[in-house]
Amino acid sequence: MKIAVCFKIVPDYEETAPDVWENMDALDFTYVKKMYGCFDEAALETALKLRDSLQAAGVPAETLAVTLGGGPEVLLQGLYAAGFERVVTVTAAGGEQQEAGNPDFRPQDTARILADFLRGENPDLIFTGKMTGPGDSGMVPFYLAAEMGYPLLTEVTKAEYDPKENRVIFCRQMEDRILHQSVAGHAVCAVGDAESPYLRMFSLKARMEARSRKPELWKSAVEIAPSGVTLHSEARQENCRMIEGETPGEKAETLWKRLKGEEAECRSM
């Protein structure tokens, strides 16, 4: 079984200084720590766990991690260290700099480019995180499934091989129920609040062995259209009135009165 995972490397937006967001036309994340998108990281680990359960049952399985746009080498090589057999960076037509358009706000083009690559790989399963920044549209899994002609399972939290029935069981956490489902054939799985949200730790030995491995590069013929989006700052400067007091008890007393409705301060604000 071939298992592909689509992931994205993003800046840790919570590590940015507030004034970064004041000029949305000149955002610079050069010196901001990079990380896997949080749901993408869950998808990476969910895929590895499924691979492990398949191999434990004697079913051959390989994993492939693919990203549009790349990222720091330490994170890409980290996937080799974590156990991925292949790591691929895909670029859009127009070169690595993607002069034509920014994929961040073009989920359809992102899905087209990923599908362009994945059709050649013909994976059995494709895992993605359910959403990631900066666009936060959550649409890439949906468009990717449509492009590939695969059914889409959303809100996947776990995937495990059942050797008795010779099938993969996907656990999906819906709003009011939990579904355990199997699929005959291919599928795209959008991972949400997974049971294993973090990529596994790997040994120093694995890290050293991965050091010499470079991600593969693959260039798509698909261009990214301009999105036409304009960006605006969301910075809010509420006049936060601090509740004062000599002791924590005094401050808590004021809060307690608010909670009991004994002070109308909040209603008048």
Binding site: Y13, E14, T16, P18, W21, M24, F39, F105, P107, M131, G133, P134, G135, D136, S137, G138, M139, F142, Y143, P151, L152, L153, I169, Q173, M174, D176, R177, I178, L179, H180, Q181, S182, A184, G185, G192, D193, P197, G228, V229, T230, L231, H232, E234, A235, R236, Q237, E238, C240, R241, M242, I243, P248, A252, E253, L255, W256, R258, L259, C266, R267
Partner: protein, 353 residues
């Protein structure tokens, strides 16, 4: 300008709040558009038990559709709760048969998923949940970006005039209402609209065609135990990683229970195993509509703050007086959270050994 409004997954005891959010969005669209707006309404709902879908449980939706001067109310019945591929295909067929510049889906869980699947089936643009509309070099959609640190304003091209939209199928834009968005009460404006809402508005069925068998086979289904409804609670406490330990979070939760408050958490707290994911407040979790929300040990990260915006009044408790949460709260306490919690426990006669 023609728009389609699609209502799906309306909660039995929360129909009106969903309709009020749609009212606010449609009214904002009317104000932002440079031409009159006409509305078609499709209501996706479970099959009626007595078979009379025209009369059973559609009164409020009919009244709202009549208020929007929709020519009639289309109803798409679902055989069972939850989305099937047949319903998704039928919704896509409905939108294809009723061309519109915008297809606006309500922000319930089912509405959101139906909107996304329909957009993918049609190959048309969908940008996720919207915060609203505005007129800026044409009609634009407002959407939070960069984990809610910024706002993106996307052009909503007219399918008749835009090459880009035509290239993407020209099927109009699929837009999903934000579940925490602004609400606007609606009343029947004129006697004629009131009459249309009650009796005069026709209801027409749009039945899905039986299609291929579902791709996924359900091996087992288990109910998900729901705690009190965080999204509709009037008083909410939200605990973050600043509380330090799971035990401290559980103390906060017990205190909330004693004070009649619901208790939610940040995503990092849920990832640490302090709470189940359905209690996460934020962009990928619950959007609060509380009269008052008190946060404890919450730093103020963008994704969580997004879930607080519907709260009328926010009080933040954090030991770091420079924590970003104080930029979003109306009131704040710069103090060790556990000291505040301990003092509140004392007021409520909660003792720890």
């Amino acid at each position: 300008m023609q728009i389609n409004v699609i209502l799906a997954g309306l909660p039995e005891d929360g129909e009106r709040s969903v309709l009020e959010r749609m009212e606010a969005l449609v009214e904002e669209l009317r104000k932002s558009a440079d031409r009159p707006v006409s509305v078609n309404c499709l209501y996706v709902r479970p099959e009626s038990e007595n078979g009379d879908i025209e009369k059973d449980g559609t009164e409020l939706v009919k009244a709202w559709a009549g208020h929007q001067q929709a020519p009639l109310l289309w109803v798409l019945p679902e055989e069972s709760r939850g989305l099937s591929q047949d319903v998704c295909c039928a919704a896509a067929a409905f939108l294809a048969a009723h061309p519109a510049r915008i297809h606006l889906f309500c922000g319930t869980a089912e509405g959101e998923e139906l909107g996304r699947r329909t957009a993918a089936l049609l190959g048309t643009e969908c940008l996720g949940k919207t915060e609203g509309f505005l007129q800026e070099d044409g009609l634009r959609l407002r959407h939070k970006v960069y984990s809610t640190h910024g706002e993106g304003r996307y052009p909503l091209h007219d399918a008749c005039s835009s090459g880009t939209a035509a290239a993407e199928g020209g099927a109009g834009h699929v837009i999903i209402g934000s579940p925490g968005g602004r609400r606007q009460a609606w009343e029947e404006k004129t006697p004629a609209a009131a009459e249309a809402g009650k009796e005069g508005l026709k209801v027409k069925m749009f039945r899905p065609q039986a299609g291929a068998p579902p791709a996924a086979v359900t091996v087992m289904e288990e109910p998900r135990q729901k705690q009190d409804d965080l999204a509709s609670a009037r008083l909410v406490f939200v605990g973050g990683k600043g509380l330090g330990t799971k035990e401290n979070y559980l103390r906060l939760k017990a205190l909330a229970g004693k004070l009649g408050a619901a208790c939610g958490c940040s995503r990092p707290a849920a990832l640490s195993g302090w709470e189940s994911y359905d209690r996460v407040v934020g962009i990928s979790g619950v959007s609060l509509q509380a009269d008052m929300c008190v946060t404890f040990g919450v730093s103020g990260a963008g994704p969580l703050v997004s879930g607080l915006e519907g709260a009328a009044h926010i009080i933040a408790v954090n030991s770091d007086k420079k924590a970003p949460i104080f930029r979003y709260a109306q009131e704040g306490i710069a103090e060790d959270c556990m000291k505040i919690i301990a003092a509140l426990e004392e007021k409520e006669n909660i003792w720890h050994t």
